[in-house]
């Protein structure tokens, strides 16, 4: 291939379009959430003396743990440019299921099926994996958009929850779940450790495995992934199952953490988990972001929720403030995409 000889190479090109401006713009989706976090932390630390204490840091970590566990799986889904609206409902039904298969105290009026702890846990995990598989089937085989499919699943999971507890409340879960959900080791709550480990595992899978690369590529350009000979349906199906299983684990530990299993217990976790992923900067269009972003997003939400409790404002106003911050994050998310496209110019 001789014609290269006639083409004098221009001076050694840099790795990317250089200059600090374009770099900043192309990294906007990582920088903006981080600045938000620093700003919020500084603000609350100044506004309230009780905010920046070691105790409170522990509180924040504990408060974001269940959301964090659920958000691991959701990150995979959003990276593929899909959505899972059934995460909270699946968390709920898995938590209820594990209680349903555990011997309850006699005053609890639920027709349950007590069995050994490990069996209860396995059955509960099987249930959430199965629900995830149904999501996967609807999305990939039938071709129902994930938005609709998981909306239906949200209802189905809520229905199963309702039938299992019939308006009652169960309290007992297998001892290992109780430990992981509500006790500490060396002053660190187990639930924080579990959340950290799951986030780490998610990060390793996304960054260092072939499957992780496929997730990014499918999210980046699904058509191209298909023409590259990737099994796109298998990858999409897998992320739906991963999301459901993460939700299930979050649900079981959550039940232990709250000390009860009942209907509608996890409703706020749907919005919180989506917010954590998106606020962190993972692109809603797929292919950009990751667990690192989700962690920053979790802290932004955690600091915000916790910090608002430390300053003296109207509790109804707090809801509005959270909404506005979420809106701002969405605007940044969408603009980051465009800025990146323009950064090269």
């Amino acid at each position: 291939m001789a014609h290269g000889e006639t083409v004098p190479m221009p001076e050694a090109p840099p790795r990317r379009a250089g200059g600090i401006g374009p770099l900043l713009r192309s990294q906007m989706r990582n920088i903006a959430p981080f600045l938000t976090l620093i700003f919020l932390t500084a603000f609350f630390a100044l506004a309230s003396p009780s905010f920046a204490t070691l105790d409170n840091v522990g509180n924040i970590l504990t408060q974001v743990s269940v959301t964090g566990i659920i958000a691991v799986g959701l990150t995979f889904v959003i990276l593929c440019a899909e959505i899972d609206l059934s995460i909270a409902a699946i968390a709920n039904v898995t938590g209820i299921a594990v209680a349903f298969f555990t011997m309850q105290d006699s005053y609890v009026n639920i027709a349950n099926l007590p069995m050994p702890g490990f069996a209860a846990i396995l059955l509960a995990l099987a249930l959430c994996a199965l629900l995830g598989a149904v999501n996967a089937f609807g999305l990939t085989v039938i071709g129902i958009p994930s938005f609709i499919m998981t909306l239906a699943m949200m209802q189905i999971a809520a229905g199963i929850s309702a039938m299992l507890v019939r308006g009652q409340i169960a309290y007992k879960v297998p001892p290992i779940i109780t430990t992981l959900g509500s006790s500490s080791i060396a002053g660190i709550p187990w639930i924080v450790i579990v959340a950290a480990l799951m986030l780490l595992l998610g990060h390793l899978v996304l960054t260092y495995t072939r499957f992780g690369r496929y997730v990014y590529m499918v999210g980046g350009n699904r058509e191209a992934a298909e023409y590259s000979g990737l099994n796109v349906k298998l990858i999409l199906g897998s992320v739906m199952v991963i999301s459901a299983v993460c939700s299930g684990i979050g649900g079981m530990l959550g039940v232990a953490h709250f000390g009860s299993a009942q209907q509608n217990e996890f409703d706020t976790y749907l919005l919180d988990s989506i917010a954590a992923v998106v606020v962190g900067g993972t692109s809603l269009f797929g292919g950009r972001g990751g667990i690192g972003n989700t962690i920053v997003g979790l802290f932004v939400l955690g600091v915000l929720n916790n910090g608002l409790d430390h300053v003296n404002i109207d509790s109804f106003l707090k809801i509005l403030i959270r909404g506005l911050i979420l809106l701002a994050a969405l605007v940044i998310n969408v603009y980051a995409q465009r800025l990146r496209a323009k950064a090269a110019d």
């Binding site: 291939m1 014609h3 290269g4 000889e5 006639t6 083409v7 004098p8 190479m9 221009p10 001076e11 050694a12 090109p13 840099p14 790795r15 990317r16 379009a17 250089g18 200059g19 374009p22 260092y208 495995t209 072939r210 499957f211 992780g212 690369r213 496929y214 990014y216 590529m217 980046g220 350009n221 058509e223 191209a224 992934a225 298909e226 023409y227 590259s228 000979g229 990737l230 099994n231 796109v232 349906k233 298998l234 292919g287 950009r288 990146r340 090269a344 110019d345």
Partner: protein, 501 residues
């Protein structure tokens, strides 16, 4: 002579860099009214970059930009539009979810006094305009559902009929078959005669000579030649573009060449038996042997796109079967086809590349499972990608750069590169040289021949007779979904091929 007239557009000493890559160095460029100005140059020479400056896409550059003799500073594409400049981009930029009619009128739909879009009028006028270009498409159908060539024509139509004074066409004919090119050219001549200034970029030197009044050659970001089209030749242009001694590169296939006898002693790699698909394919049968390049030629819409997708498991045929190495195969996904040893390059770049990912990830995507079952090995990936980048002369030779920053032709090379690290059993290439400069084309021809000689079966599908003729050992012609002619071991030429189609 148009030269005596005042230039419509004058660019003086234009320099443009992207970070450390200088795409243009002190370029002068002039377009006069009533002139078709051909622009040629190898991949990455800076043609598209200059056009994007004219069309207001790139706003940061140095040099003077004069319109009607007055200096202008566009801040956006909109400014350029308002000044009467319209551009057909190299990458298709249509709105696939809108209707054909909406795409034709994008941005200036006819409205009534109340500002309500007049749908009926829009559909009627769109149909009329398209007919001028010989396009027969339902104005109300969704554009994304049409074949890519037709989408390209509709984008061209939008620009041609937008009333612009300066029209830029960046490789507009890459997806068109000869009759459409013909009609496009007669429309361009009409516009020129009305005083429009037209810039026409193409890697088909013959087309450039045929349609242009003036020709400019770029090389490595510099303008190195400008001449009247009537006073130059194909050989001279190619020499200016890529240097001496390469003028025999582009055979024009006007005379007969003889195809080799099929290698009957070699095993059949893939056999299609009576493939039918809705209205697109009717009982198509053929076989490809190891070490053979089968060309499949036909005009746009002849069913070759569908055929290619069946071969790669993206579409399932209604009836008929596909045998790979003698075994009946029903691919349920493209992954099945890849595992069966089939590689595929679709005709549209957008569909096969990850523009936001670095070059090496684009090259390695199809062989990750061969590198390691579970883990990524980025160092191996980079090494493999570097080897391909060198072999295919991809510029800039940097595997870390985002793919989207490469010039169109270089992106096309990456699309081919990703299948070469692990040679497949069957390589299916749709329009493999689309958008490549003459040097790159001949490189691709060399690579395909080498693969063939290693015993790989190759199928080349194209609407360009030259592509098929330069690569194929045997040719079948598709017409409205049917095989109408096979050329094997006999004389063939462009005319014979066109006649059969």
């Amino acid at each position: 002579m148009s030269d005596s007239r005042r230039p419509l557009l004058e660019l003086q000493d234009i320099t443009k860099s992207f970070g450390g890559v200088t795409a243009l160095r002190g370029v002068d460029f002039t377009v006069r009214p009533g002139e078709i100005h051909g622009l040629v140059g190898e991949n990455g020479a800076g043609k598209s970059t200059l056009m994007k400056i004219i069309a207001g896409v790139h706003t940061g550059f140095s040099g003077r930009f004069l319109l009607d003799g007055r200096e202008v500073h566009f801040r956006s594409v909109r400014d350029a539009r308002a000044a009467g400049i319209a551009m057909v981009h190299q990458e298709l930029s249509v709105a696939p979810d809108l209707t054909v009619a909406e795409n034709v009128f994008l941005g200036n739909q006819p409205t009534n006094a109340l500002g309500v879009v007049q749908w009926r009028r829009m559909a009627r006028e769109a149909a009329e305009q398209l007919k001028n270009l010989g396009i027969d498409a339902d104005p109300m159908s969704r554009l994304g559902d049409l074949p890519i060539g037709l989408q390209q024509l509709i984008e061209i139509a939008r620009v041609l009929f937008s009333g612009a004074r300066i029209i830029i066409l960046d490789e507009p004919t890459s997806a068109l078959s000869p009759p459409e090119v013909e009609r496009l050219f007669s429309t361009l001549r009409k516009l020129r005669d009305q005083g429009t200034g037209i810039i026409f970029i193409s890697h088909f030197i013959e087309d450039i000579l045929l349609i242009s009044d003036e020709v400019t050659v770029f090389r490595n970001g510099r303008k190195i030649m400008e001449t009247r089209a009537a006073e130059t030749s194909k050989a001279a242009l190619i020499e200016a573009m890529i240097g001496k001694g390469r003028d025999a590169l582009e055979d024009s296939y006007t005379h007969d060449i003889t195809l080799p006898a099929p290698p009957l002693d070699k095993p059949v790699v893939v056999e299609a038996d009576g493939l039918s698909l809705a209205r697109n394919l009717k009982r198509v049968s053929f076989a490809v042997r190891a070490g053979e390049v089968l060309g499949i030629y036909g005009f746009m819409g002849c069913g070759q796109l569908e055929l290619a997708r069946i071969l790669f498991g993206k579409l399932a045929p209604d009836t008929g079967e596909l045998r790979v190495a003698g075994e009946r195969n029903r691919f349920k996904s493209t992954a099945d086809a890849r595992r069966a040893g089939i590689a595929f390059v679709p005709e549209s770049r957008r569909d096969m590349l990850f523009l936001q990912e670095p070059v090496y990830k684009n090259v390695s995507i199809s062989i990750l499972d061969r590198i390691n079952a579970v883990l990524l090995k980025p160092a191996r990936e980079r090494a493999l990608a570097k080897r391909q980048v060198e072999q295919l002369q991809i510029r800039p030779a940097d595997v870390e750069i985002d793919l989207g920053l490469l010039s169109g032709g270089n992106q096309q090379k990456v699309a081919l590169a990703k299948w070469l690290s692990h040679p497949p059993r069957l390589l299916v290439l749709c329009e493999p040289t689309r958008g490549m400069d003459v040097g790159a084309k001949s490189d691709v021809i060399g690579i395909v021949r080498k693969l063939r000689d290693q015993g790989i079966a190759v199928i080349v599908l194209s609407t360009e007779p030259e592509t098929v003729l330069s690569l194929a050992d045997r040719v079948i012609v598709l017409k409205r979904g049917e095989v109408v002619r096979e050329f094997a071991g006999e004389a063939i030429s462009k005319d014979r091929l066109l006649e059969a189609a």
